[in-house]
Amino acid sequence: MATQIVMDHKGDTRHNFDAKDAKALLKAERRFKELTGAGFTAATRTADGEPVVTRTFDPTAEETLFFPRLVGG
């Protein structure tokens, strides 16, 4: 089961989906595009746990984290 984690005012919202299910994968890709299009940054982790920013949907990613655009405080 793959997960997309979206940071929000509740802490985060998790969307779990079966990466082997073509329909679920399409929905996850659409969510990826919507969020990154809205300015969210998408990040995954390497096997070593290092964060990597990703600009395109990776259907093999087990976990993708989305956080809102950064601004000066």
Binding site: I5, M7, D8, H9, K10, G11, D12, G39, T41, A43, R45, G49, E50, P51, V52, V53, L65, F67, P68, R69, L70, V71, G72, G73
Partner: protein, 135 residues
């Protein structure tokens, strides 16, 4: 008769005071509890920190990251703003950097976004940040 009335009133007054004291204590405990969003933010942060960063965070309430472009070290303190410090060679805060996610998020989420930004796009993060002098 009057003595009895006074005794009853005294008893009622003490009960009321005890109840008020209990309510005040319960309110204080409730007020000091971290919100659900705070707890979720902390949990997510802990999942994404390296073992070294997690140990540092547990011990000091901050953790350090290495900027991906310059190799500089940054300290991210627990907080929601003005909590990122660039360190000098001796590990002392040299410059403060303030950059946060656009939306209102829990502290753990803010810190995780700052960590990922510095570790993957240091220049991009500092380009939007405002700097300040550490106290």
């Amino acid at each position: 008769m009057l003595v009895n009335v006074l005794r009853i009133a005294d008893d009622q007054l003490w009960r009321l005071l005890a109840a008020c004291s209990r309510w005040a204590r319960d309110f204080r405990d409730w007020y000091q509890l971290p919100s659900i969003s705070e707890l979720r933010g902390r949990k997510l942060l802990r999942e994404w920190l390296s073992p070294e960063q997690l140990a540092q965070y547990d011990a000091h309430n901050y953790f350090e990251v290495t900027g991906c472009h310059t190799g500089k070290r940054y300290r991210i303190r627990h907080g929601m703003g003005t909590n990122v410090y660039e360190l000098d060679g001796a590990g002392r805060p040299r410059t403060g950097w303030c950059f946060v996610p656009k939306d209102h998020l829990a502290a753990g989420d803010v810190m995780l976004a700052q960590k990922i930004a510095l570790e993957t796009d240091e220049r991009g993060a500092l380009a939007v940040a405002n700097n300040f002098t550490p106290r």
